[in-house]
């Protein structure tokens, strides 16, 4: 987990590789929710 983690950032489970989105940054730790899967219109 980066020290400067922010809401909306994606973190990846080091064990299973699943992506989660940070939904809340708390004093100790964060809350997470499953991240969106890549859409066909995703890109830069």
């Amino acid at each position: 987990m980066p020290d400067d983690v922010v809401v909306g950032e994606i973190i990846t489970c080091p064990d299973c590789g699943t992506d989660f989105e940070v939904s809340e940054v708390k004093e100790k730790g964060v809350s997470i929710k499953p991240a969106e899967t890549v859409g066909e219109d995703w890109g830069e």
Binding site: G8, E40, W42, G43, E44
Partner: protein, 287 residues
């Protein structure tokens, strides 16, 4: 204090560094998650400005989400970088090609078809090898090289069986003879901030950093600057990632990206890319 609304749907390295740089430059940053908004057509310009900010930097990773939020905010009088017209053009490879062609910016020859059979006819005209690309999307995803008719038939059949109407648009481009690299330039208005060569990794022909491509500093020549800035201008200008190739006939532009990623460029270029982007936004905010 000027408030910059940073519209996002996923915070990448770029959004974090842009936030920090904007705050250091004296901007108040309001990060807005496009996945959570409820936009009301009844809002006044003042209400919209109060909820979002004075100027908007559109950073949505989803093209359609970005396009629609930009359309809404622009209609309410907010200055969005990039504009809806620019987003509409750059998010669709065909619209980009057409604008480049019209402005006589060198770009690969492109044929368009809407069925497997007509796509094969297009390939007969263009010849093999050719490149099949999705009309929207990025990172080299679903971009395939069609080396011969057998490969083409297989790929076209697969694409036609995929869900989604966009998958039924067959955007087929000539395979440009080029070194195993292309050039990513990052443009802010009428200025190239940074340029890098992107080398395809071994066993891969696509040069996207997301497919393992490696970056190296690229010197901006007069020709590169001329072609890239004309491409940026013809799609409407703004903060753009203009991708070019070195063909035997000279520089060609094959793609213009409207929510440019620059982590790869920042790792090789000796330029403060986020600083230059924020400087551009500040200039736009003062206009």
């Amino acid at each position: 204090m000027t408030t910059l609304a940073l519209m996002y749907d996923r915070i990448r390295w770029e959004e974090k560094v842009l936030t920090k740089t904007a705050e250091a430059g004296g901007l108040n940053v309001n990060r807005v998650d496009a996945k959570t908004v409820s936009l009301d057509s009844d809002w006044s310009i003042e209400e919209t400005r109060e909820k979002f900010g004075d100027i908007v930097l559109q950073r949505c990773i989803s093209y359609f989400r970005g396009l629609h939020t930009t359309a809404f905010l622009e209609s309410k009088g907010l200055n969005v970088i990039n504009s809806m017209d620019v987003t509409l053009t750059c998010g669709n490879k065909l619209l980009t090609t057409l604008k480049l062609e019209k402005a006589k910016v060198p770009t690969p020859r492109t044929l368009l078809s809407f069925t497997e059979d007509s796509a094969l006819k297009s390939l007969q005209i263009l010849g093999y090898p050719a490149v099949l690309k999705p009309v929207t999307g990025s990172w080299g995803r679903l971009v395939v090289q069609l080396k011969d008719k057998d490969t083409a038939q297989a790929m076209l059949e697969m694409r036609s069986r995929m869900e989604g109407s966009l998958n039924q648009i067959f955007y087929i481009q000539e395979m440009v003879e080029r070194p195993p690299r292309d050039i990513r330039t990052i443009v802010a208005g009428d200025h190239i901030i940074a340029a890098l060569y992107r080398y395809a990794p071994e066993g891969e022909w696509r040069t996207n950093i997301s497919t393992g491509g490696k970056g190296e500093i690229c010197k901006v020549t007069g020709e590169l600057e001329d072609v890239v800035l004309r491409a940026a201008e013809t799609v409407g200008g703004g903060l753009l990632g203009v991708d070019a190739m070195e063909s035997p006939e000279g520089i060609l532009v094959h793609e213009v990206n409207n929510t440019v990623e620059f982590k790869g460029a920042a790792s090789v270029c000796d330029v403060d890319i986020p600083g230059a982007i924020i400087e551009y936004i500040l200039k736009q905010a003062r206009r």
